[in-house]
Point group: C2
Chain length 367, copies 2
């Protein structure tokens, strides 16, 4: 005795089957299990008993077909194995399930074709809401196929949206990258860096935004022109090449597109005999857990990744409930000072400091 998911040869458990055994009609069973007050306590209990005994679990497909609501949320992200995406997904899934929603997941790998395919999956499954994390697909293309008022974009990466341009007024969750990277420059300048470099990745909105912010801050500080280094999307797996280019033209301070790139560059530089922070100061972005475990610990801009995922789910569920999608938000970031940056008083090569607590400075976000 089991339902469709149980052993194959046995009869499926449906309302009808329960009705038979309980000697009532299907609608009575439906109502009894739905706690309909119109049903007498006696029959409700009887029905319940039979249902439990048969191990009844409602069929989501049938229910959605009838109710025009699936109680599922779609979640699209670039790569489940990336720590940042994993943390966003964790926040999203937790919040979703807390509200009784199931998550359908699809990865896009930053590839337009795969993202389109993932989108089709979401449409097929008629998710009540969809969140797209760091996707490169054009928002207007999404809106053509998905209800715009049931759609949340987290850190959208379509290039046209760089530097906050052309952003939808509702349903976007972003982090104040501009403020964050300006802070990074500010921190380096404070510590006496006279030359600053930036290692970027890819042609995405965030890279454009981040590089532009760094460039602007460097100019405003009156420093020599930013030294720009370009890396491929998986340079963090094979950082030797970028690291070599950086080593040949070493700035006093180097800001990286993201933590995992910073950590791998730090490692690759060490192989080239370049030590952080003695030979240069290094700053990352993201605040992934391992940035706090590296040696030296990474100075980085921390973004509230879990909260971004949680918020995305919350906004979707709220939109489903109230019919109104919340306005776009810009979350603040924090400067987490580690050991990978230090004052660059000419010539001094301070010994690595022992473990210190990591101070945090907050910046950006909504006014």
């Amino acid at each position: 005795v089991t339902n469709e998911s149980g052993p194959a040869n046995v009869q499926r458990v449906t309302l009808g089957r329960i009705a038979e055994l309980a000697g009532v009609s299907i609608s009575t069973v439906s109502r009894a299990l739905a706690d309909d007050p119109q049903i007498s306590a006696r029959t409700r209990e009887a029905v319940r008993r039979v249902a439990d005994q048969l191990g009844y679990v409602p069929n989501a497909a049938a229910r959605s077909l009838r109710s025009l609501s699936t109680r599922t949320l779609g979640l699209m992200l670039g790569d489940l194995s990336d720590p940042v995406h994993g943390l966003v997904a964790a926040g999203f899934e937790t919040e979703a399930r807390r509200h009784g929603y199931t998550v359908v997941i699809a990865t896009g790998f930053g590839d337009l074709a795969m993202e389109r395919d993932a989108l089709r999956v979401f449409v097929e499954h008629r998710n009540d809401g969809v969140a797209l994390i760091s996707t490169v697909i054009d928002p207007s293309e999404i809106r053509a196929v998905l209800r715009p008022d049931r759609l949340v974009l987290v850190a959208p990466e379509h290039v046209r949206l760089a530097e906050g341009r052309d952003l939808p007024e509702r349903g976007v969750v972003r982090v104040d990258e501009g403020a964050g990277f300006e802070m990074a420059v500010g921190h380096l300048v404070e510590q006496g860096c006279r030359s600053i470099g930036y290692v970027g990745v890819g042609l995405t909105a965030s890279n454009v935004t981040r590089r532009a912010a760094v460039e602007r801050a460097v100019r405003l500080a009156g420093l020599p022109p930013l030294r720009r280094f370009a890396a491929g999307p998986d340079a963090w797996r094979a950082p030797r090449d970028v690291a070599a280019r950086i080593a040949r033209d070493l700035p006093e301070g180097l800001i990286c597109y993201e933590d995992k790139l910073a950590l791998s560059i730090m490692d690759a530089l060490r192989a080239l005999g370049v030590e952080v922070p003695n030979d240069l100061s290094l700053v990352g972005f993201d605040g992934i857990p391992f940035a706090a475990l590296s040696r030296p610990r990474l100075t980085t801009i921390t973004q509230p990744v879990v909260e971004m995922g949680r918020l995305a789910a919350e906004m979707l569920i709220e939109a489903i409930r109230t019919g109104e999608l919340r306005p776009s938000v810009l979350l603040p970031v924090e400067l987490t000072i580690g050991e990978s940056t230090r004052p660059r008083t000419a010539g001094s090569r301070t010994a690595e400091t022992a473990a210190s607590s990591q101070p945090r400075v907050r910046a950006g976000g909504e006014p």
Copy 2:
């Protein structure tokens, strides 16, 4: 003009709607879109045109209800933000989607109640197959509610399954933890460690298995009794306490339950003035990407995490296709030698070596 997921006020796109506009019956539309050879090329094209124009996307719920198959796979894991689980999930999702399956995800957080709830979600959605990663729930409890021949357990953590006992004959994907941890001990012994410790986490099957393997290997090597340290499930976030206990009773070689614990303990030990590898050799388990970026780089036992996820999906899809679930498998692990272990020739404190390539030694797996 759009389907259910599009703007709310417009008519949904169904086969019926296409049929109207194309001037044919619903079944003709259904067949045309399904490439039924019985349909004339002319009507097929006409139907196609209308469908495209309306942006038709089939309704998965309706299709599953009718076909008794959802083309979805359920994936349950402990924590999306954990790098190991993320990598397994990535392998799983990629393989699933490659075969046209959609992934429904649910996290259990190593908590029995949450795992039960996640299980119910899978039953409700009638996933064609389900994979459970590192779950603590009793396999027989799972089998009572999910078709056993559509179920894959990856690294099951129910304590009763420790050391490979009571394992189902089919549908289990494991890694040879025993061989791996014996290798770890072997490596330390080779390097002259005279005292060995183990830091375990939780009361799960893998912890029991790993600790037992280390204990056995230590005994066989004729070393003094293993020094056991116990840590909580999130000791890696707050390692100070364990680290202090370890520092008070420092072995020459320390083996950790997993990489992220090893990395955080290494960091915490440094804060206590204990340096790896000079003051002790340290070995982890998992082979997460950041183990290769730490300083010193971590010596670890690498398990094929992405492949485990991929294989789980492959086994499920094969079982769905052929009706037969593949026998359980035991995958081999590799010893990845980093910089966190070094020969313990009495008194010598070798300077850290510069970057070296990481040799790998394979062990375990099926005969």
